[in-house]
């Protein structure tokens, strides 16, 4: 797929070439931007450059998964789990910490979360043991959880993951719901495609 090529030799030497290579691997950074960043780092003071290196090192050592919900945190538990105002009976299950951030940005959900760390993808070798599913089941069986809100991505694999979990919890006294889907507010029926309409009809709710 991607061609394997020798890293281009840099006139300043291998160290600069290596830095550019690594910067260019960052999301949204192309070769040109990587070169600009490298030049900036060469120009700036040693202190400034080192504090960037230290900041990178620090997030990799200090940030870890919350012991309850697997959200990322610097402490033992994350800010959401340790917030007494959050409703601990209601647990929203997401694939990734960034999904949690998106839901939090909407500030509409007052419960707590459980981050799976991915989705079941047997074709890619991702099975239940690779995700934080056992911990979720334990959390539910430990008591106190009355609702599980499945907020995995509305893809085939995301839905499959939600189904797998809801089968596991089928005999537990917990209500399992999932995010609604269908037509976006403010759009018009006329232009909604068949799948959107089908989802909206399947997920209809009483007034």
């Amino acid at each position: 797929m991607a061609r394997i090529e020798e890293p281009p030799r840099h006139p300043y030497g291998a160290a600069v070439g290596n830095l550019i290579e690594r910067l260019a691997k960052l999301p949204g950074i192309g070769r040109k931007s990587a070169e600009r960043l490298a030049n900036h780092l060469l120009d700036c003071s040693e202190d400034e450059a080192n504090s960037l290196a230290e900041a990178i090192r620090r997030v990799k050592t200090v940030v870890r998964p919350c012991s309850i919900c697997f959200n990322l945190t610097e402490g033992e538990t994350c800010s959401i789990c340790s917030d007494p105002r959050r409703d601990k009976h209601s647990v929203c299950v997401v694939e990734q910490p960034r999904d949690l951030l998106a839901l939090e940005a909407a500030s509409i959900f007052n419960g707590v979360y459980h981050v799976l760390g991915g989705r079941l993808a047997p074709l890619n070798g991702v099975g239940p043991e690779d995700l934080n599913i056992n911990a979720l089941v334990k959390r539910v069986r430990h008591g106190g959880v009355t609702e599980i809100l499945m907020a995995t991505n509305p893809t085939l694999e995301g839905d499959g993951t939600a189904l797998y979990i809801s089968n596991l919890l089928a005999n537990d006294p917990v209500k399992i719901t999932r995010l609604a889907r269908g037509i976006a507010s403010g759009s018009v029926l006329e232009f909604a495609n068949r799948e959107m309409l089908a989802d909206a009809i399947r997920g209809r709710q009483s007034f």
Binding site: M1, R3, P27, G28, P122, L123, G125, P154, T155, L156, E157, G160, L163, Y164, N167, N193, R194, E195
Partner: protein
């Protein structure tokens, strides 16, 4: 859509099994955005109308447009229906070649995905698809005659299945090593019907659980033989 992989912040690489061109791999720039030429069509096993540019030099083709026709809807609450869909993707990914069109197989895949929409039809859907795939690959075992001596397989007898010889084995040619399971004459007839080119005949079949088990044994062995290993998804399908 047989495989959808995130490539960058906004792009995706997809492997698509098309009716006219067979399997293709293409880069979908902006494929992760909700708005744009792909919307939410790039999901595993969804059926789309696509426009793509074929790269004649090295590198991936470019997917420029995809319009969702239908999503794959496995039977709700039945994970094995979903796994049957994954299995179909696995078989097409590993057993078909790029740019080798198989319109008959394309139709069979569509039909199989529909059958995975109900628990009752999923197993037959898997078997029919496996047999059409074997036929299209030119690897369909012989269900008419003994693969060793060539004698016609007649009613009222049981046979063995000898996968490397490519077919059923009559009782006279039977050896200890090949007798893991016996295939009854009725099953052999069912296999002939299930693998026939007729689009309709096999749909009238009503197999007993015993026959289904024998048929599945034969198709599984044949698929594993062609693949050179057990497909990953088989263990998910078995329970």
């Amino acid at each position: 859509m047989l495989r959808v992989t995130d490539f960058s912040e906004t792009s995706r690489i997809v492997v698509v099994f098309t009716r006219e061109f067979g399997k293709i791999s293409a880069l979908a720039k902006g494929g992760r955005r909700l708005k744009g030429p792909f919307e939410s069509s790039l999901d595993l096993l969804s059926t789309c109308q696509i426009v793509f540019l074929r790269k004649h030099t090295s590198g991936l083709d470019l997917l420029t447009e995809a319009k969702l026709v239908s999503r794959f809807h496995p039977q709700e609450r039945d994970l094995t229906c979903l796994y049957a869909g994954y299995y179909l993707a696995e078989l097409l990914l590993s057993l078909t070649e790029d740019y080798d069109p198989h319109p008959i197989l394309y139709t069979a895949a569509q039909e199989a995905l529909t059958m995975f929409g109900a628990s009752e039809t999923k197993l037959l859907g898997v078997i029919r698809f496996e047999l059409v795939l074997l036929r299209e690959l030119g690897q369909l075992p012989d269900f008419e005659n003994c693969a060793a001596c060539g004698i016609e397989l007649t009613e009222g007898r049981t046979f063995g299945f000898w996968v490397t010889e490519g077919g059923l084995i009559c009782p006279d040619c039977q050896r200890e090593d090949y007798t893991q399971i016996s295939i009854h004459a009725g099953t052999a007839a069912a296999l002939r019907l299930l693998s026939s080119e007729s689009e309709q005949a096999w749909k009238r079949l009503n197999l007993t659980p015993g026959q289904l088990k024998e048929v599945k044994h034969v198709t599984t062995a044949a698929i594993c033989n062609v693949m050179g290993k057990r497909p990953k998804m088989l263990k998910y399908l078995e329970h």
